[in-house]
């Protein structure tokens, strides 16, 4: 689950952005976090039907490393965790929003 290496010396802004959101499920995860504010692991697991447990965990780790999301652990039984956007992650809202709006329109036109 390496982040892709884009050459950002040349300063291509799209490549810069991709470094953060190009992971297989990252933008979908961010989308759900934007819509639902707070998400548990199992909930994301259900939302992302085709994403394996392993993949979900890996993507969450990377998003957290990149400071886009924050993981909150509650030491209860049973174990409980949730994820929220950080302030930095929230700066991506316009990007994710643009993607979801395009997808919504596409879905409307194509059933």
């Amino acid at each position: 689950m390496q982040r892709r290496v884009y050459d950002c010396q040349v300063g291509c802004p799209v490549e810069s952005t991709l470094q953060f959101i190009s992971g297989k499920w990252k933008s979908v995860i961010l989308y759900h976090l934007i819509e639902e504010k707070v998400c548990h692991f199992g909930q994301l697991k259900r939302d992302l039907k085709d994403c394996s447990t392993r993949m979900l965990a890996l993507q969450l780790v990377e998003l957290e490393k990149d400071k886009l999301i924050q993981k909150n652990i509650y030491s209860e039984e049973p174990l409980r965790t949730d994820y929220t956007l950080t302030e930095f992650g929230a700066t991506l809202i316009p990007v994710i929003r643009a993607m979801s709006e395009w997808g919504d329109r596409f879905n409307q036109l194509n059933g």
Copy 2:
């Protein structure tokens, strides 16, 4: 270079969008086409420094299959081709724009 399989029955709009732009270099190619209107193969090759010839060709084929871009062939010597956005491809401009704007801001703040 398969397009990724996201479950779009559930209608996640972000997944719908990703079906079109999640290829490794697709959004970067679209970005250059938006900025420069018309691009030749060799020009894109130079712009996308870390993208191999093979990858560039594959991504262009997929973008064309998806009707996002149009390939125009001129039977001259030497061979000449160029690529432009289709109308459908142009509907993605807000998405790509959002990505490039975020990347611009990020690059400013981080050198």
